[in-house]
Amino acid sequence: MSGRTASVGMTKAWRDRAALELRIRGASGGTIGDALAVVDAHCADSGQAAEEAFGTPRAYAESVPLSDDERRRLSPAMLARHAVPSVAGLAGMLLAFAVVDAVHAGDPVAIRAGVALAIAVMLCAAVALVAMGRVFLRHLWAGALLVATALAATIALEAGVRGTLARMPVWAAVAGAAALLAASVVLQYRDRDLDPVSDPLTGDPSPRSTAIVAALTPWLFPLMTGLGVALIAAINATA
């Protein structure tokens, strides 16, 4: 036994880590709530700290048996589905920005090579995030670094690579952007899997679930598009 005095039960860090590691394995909110409540109950009875009775949160999370459904949830195919709405939303947003510039200049909408490359880079970053999701969830700094690098590359490509791949009439570009944004919203709603950690006794969701963020997420790209279009139009008007 260690010399330091450990508090009884779970520290917040232990609880959060165990919940995260269970999520990474595909555990449902019900399974996570049950696994955490078991630790609460046992530690209250034995007077032990969670680390003392159950070891590291990761070791405990890996020992919790999951149902077949839960084991299938985080298959690469299921994860790839979640990247599609974001890519559609991003493409729709960038197309909408191109429309604003085209209308200002009175030209057809130009699909620029830099923008297409930027979308390709974001797609690759999304695939990498999904494929190596476990690594990035455990080491958030690595995930942040990947996202920051991809964003920087996107901005550099968008600004630096000249040349136009195609031109399309404004009405076609508006229709395309609207369709892509609508697809991102619909697909996000289809894939929405809130499944909060729930108390096994009462079935109540944990109060830590972020309901507002979850409700806004499907509308992220339309919101950003609206803001961006307004901003670009304002800059064009003053220029």
Binding site: V38, A41, H42, A44, D45, S46, A53, G55, P200
Partner: protein, 117 residues
């Protein structure tokens, strides 16, 4: 905590059956199971060992579980032996009995003639 008089690798093999045997006395919760096992010479069974084992018995349908309100503290998860768990305990219990008898005979009968030669 009760001293553990037996090698831990022996205990590991029979722990699952012993857990089923404790639950056979009636629905009970994890910490009470750990205390009953300590009384039977298992020493301190860590939560990290006991609950995954109980979880696997739940998955296989040998044990069912239900949460009950705790008095003052957090709720407790009570485990109950199912019919399939009862059969498993009965069958494996009999096997264990035969195994122990066989091994006792094997381990304690010395080849005296060969040593003398």
């Amino acid at each position: 905590m009760t001293e553990n008089p037996y090698p831990s690798e022996w205990l590991r093999g029979v722990l699952g059956l012993a857990v089923l045997r404790v639950i056979a006395d009636g629905p009970t919760y994890g910490y009470a199971i750990a205390l009953a096992l300590a009384d039977q010479g298992f020493g301190e069974i860590k939560g990290g060992t006991l609950y995954p084992l109980l979880g696997r018995f739940e998955e296989s349908g040998d044990v069912s579980a239900e949460w009950r309100e705790g008095d003052g503290g957090p709720g407790r998860k009570y485990y109950r032996l199912t019919e399939s768990g009862r059969r498993l305990l009965h069958d494996r219990g009999r096997m264990w009995h035969g195994f122990a008898r066989h091994m006792s005979g094997f381990l304690t009968t010395m080849p005296t003639e060969r040593i003398e030669r």
